[in-house]
Subunit: 451 residues, 2 copies
């Protein structure tokens, strides 16, 4: 029989005890709870107290009742978070693979957690109640300054910190961009590309068109075909093709944007991971009037770090303040202060260097193994970012490539999976995104006998 020491508020204390026992697994899913009367007797409380505690557990989904048989413990990992009752794409179709070239979060063990935890403790004691102050709509000034310094050191761009906007991740910033530039505008996104980007613009009510990406990025001469006002691209390293936009195209694209009174959204999502050679110049560095620079810390820190930022042309910053000046910022001051310190102490750059070394060796192992494949294959690799592509010209189809891989417990997608609009010239090419692959997984990968 459940026996607890109950506090002053008896029903609540009883409720909390049972709840904790369910969450800790001390009372198992499916287990029957004692009857109200017997538990009341055992604890020396009224039946109503037990009834109230049970009612609340019931309301919160920790237990369920069966007519005439009493109360039973629910499976809190399933029913409670509801993923069974409502169809949820998050949990459906998840299977675990030996190597996953689709998902993209950095191995957690690389994150300097104890340093980060210390930093947070220091921020707590140093900033104290200042952390409770309203967050400025464009972000904490200290973080903005730190990011300006970071961009200067890492990307070689001189950015006026005031024009930086801190947001809760990239998708949130795309929404802000639509609100800023207008949903009557046409937004061109890269094809193939991240579907989330097109989705974010569409969800915010904008019309989205596709700009095809070739080996040297999008073609400025096609701008009129797109009919776009705004072009969203990742010129330094395109996902998934790996294309790099050459300088001549960049200036041409900026010129086209200027002609149309539009803008370039420069998505610099993985530029930190240039694994060989010098990083490429940014488009924002070429024109801070026509380019909105966007980046996040999800790749460099952790996907849970919901922090991104964009650098706006001065005119748009003024517009931003006009529109959002009355709103509070969306990222807690606490995380902003901690990240500012991490940047200022140089720890972010040290962490990125560690990551780069790590990924360089993962890439090396993968390239070597793929190189020894018996079947014809063409690797396309630009020394940048965390992915490359491999074309299998003699494969039957994209689905064959994926199913052969799946049989070896490898999760992989093809270029065609990232198409937003059909294209003929994107077939038989696997996308090797190794951002979530550990060195051990790469080393254990056995693909010699794959056909």
């Amino acid at each position: 029989m459940l026996t607890y020491e109950l506090g002053k508020n008896k029903y609540y204390s009883l409720y909390s005890h049972i709840r904790e026992d369910i969450l800790n697994g001390r009372i198992k899913a499916g287990e029957k709870l004692p009857s109200k009367r017997s538990l009341a007797q055992n604890l020396g409380v009224s039946v109503i107290t037990v009834q109230t505690a049970y009612d609340q557990l019931l309301a919160e989904g920790y237990i369920f009742s069966r007519e005439r048989s009493g109360y039973f413990v629910a499976d809190v990992n399933v029913d409670f978070y509801g993923n069974k009752a409502v169809e949820s794409p998050i949990v459906l179709g998840q299977r675990s693979y030996a190597v996953d070239f689709v998902k993209g979060s950095a191995p957690a063990e690389l994150f300097p957690f104890s340093y980060w935890a210390k930093l947070m403790r220091n921020v707590l004691s140093d900033c104290g109640e200042h952390l409770l102050e309203r967050v400025p709509c464009d972000g904490d000034g200290e973080l903005k300054a730190a990011i300006a310094g970071y961009l200067y050191r890492v990307r070689g761009i001189t950015v006026d910190p005031r024009y930086i906007i801190i947001g809760a991740g990239a998708e949130q910033l795309y929404g802000v961009i639509v609100q800023l530039l207008g949903r009557d505008k046409v937004y061109a996104v890269e094809n193939p590309g991240y579907k989330n980007i097109a989705e974010a613009y569409r969800l915010n009510g904008a019309e989205v068109v596709c700009a095809n990406v070739f080996s040297d990025g999008v073609n400025p001469a096609e701008w009129d075909n797109w009919g776009a006002d705004i072009l969203h691209i990742s010129p330094s390293h395109h996902f998934p093709t790996g294309a790099v936009t050459p300088a001549s195209s960049r200036t041409a694209l900026i010129a086209r944007a200027a002609e149309r009174g539009g803008y370039i959204v420069e998505d610099d999502y993985d530029s930190e991971f240039r694994l060989s050679g010098r990083p490429l110049q940014t488009m924002y560095g070429v024109s801070s009037d026509r380019v909105i620079y966007v980046n996040t810390f999800s790749k460099t820190l952790a996907p849970s770090m919901r922090m991104g930022y964009m650098v706006l042309p001065p005119v748009l910053y003024a517009e931003y303040i006009k529109l959002f000046g009355n709103n509070a910022g969306v990222v807690p001051l606490f995380e902003q202060k901690a990240l500012a310190r991490m940047i200022n102490e140089g720890a972010l750059e040290r962490h990125i260097n560690r990551l780069k070394n790590y990924y360089r060796s993962v890439r090396g192992i993968l390239l070597q193994k793929i190189g020894s494949l018996a079947c014809p294959h063409e690797v396309s690799e630009t020394g940048s970012g965390l992915h490359f592509t491999v074309k299998f010209p003699t494969a039957e189809s994209d689905s064959q490539i994926k199913s052969v891989a799946a049989r070896a417990s490898i999760n992989v997608r093809c270029l065609s999976d990232y198409l937003l609009q059909p294209r003929e010239d994107c077939s038989l090419t696997a996308v090797i995104n190794y951002s979530g692959v550990t060195r051990e997984q790469a080393a254990c990968l056995d693909i010699k006998n794959l056909v």
Copy 2:
């Protein structure tokens, strides 16, 4: 002369030292920095090292240069965050008053900061690297469960925790609502009301119409005049009128929403602050099919706590997962875990009770002082929320009321300031919002001789 012990990376170390000295005020705004040559000599480094450090400080706005006179320290509190150069409504027109009935954040000293800091430390050590995991798009399950329990205890509603969505504050959630219900729908908001609400819907591309609020809230019979699909109201306590929507209107409004295939957005923003009597039932409790319940923790915790939540009808939750299932949640796991604990430990409710006691006494002092005013006045107070209204039937105009108050260093607005559409019947009424007023300020308030 500035003298520093420089680290291995000389330019960066020099930059950091100077930067820190500027931020700490050891080098004051306007102060001239030593010439590059003399500083280089003093530190035994090359002129280029000093130049590079100065360049970066310049790029980041810590210093500025004057032709032929050298480098000077910028006023980092003003220029640096840029609010002077770009017109910003945030800083313009801010004046400090002895008593401010317009701004609305709870006195910071009431927040149990040391408890909160302890909680965060505990979360850091208990959850460890789990904090780095991707945040579910609808929020952390533990926090969702905690909120369900909280709503049960505090608002008497039984909410299935899975249908709760955690967002980064109310405005962000309004955006999600538009994306969920569609921007082709018409959204009715209360007039007078919070302009931010209408603004958030508009920014997200929705058409916004006004629903006039009377002493018993909005009138269901007017629904057809509004032509709305969605009605956003705060039925428990309307800001700024204080109107409470009676049960009969509530069911009628839900029925009208159902007829039109629309929804009610129930904004329960300050229901925790019912200072006398029992809290009113929620509309979500009446119909969880047609009502979206929205609330935040900005009023109860701190404005920097960018966390809000909404409870969706099951159908809309499924739709939410379909649209946003691939996105990560926008609120850091860290804050979500800490808040879940605060709720589960009962500390949030204890804190709210402390706040209620505090505000009750602020309200008492204010009502007593206003009651002794010599001029005719009618107080309208429903024992709920953190504001009430006072009508001055013999005042000349709203501006007269405000200017008389301003002369006594009181910042106050009138009902008409919160009108989104002109109305004749909202004049000569001051809105006394005391959520940001301390007991001391209330006690010192001297309004006896105001005319």
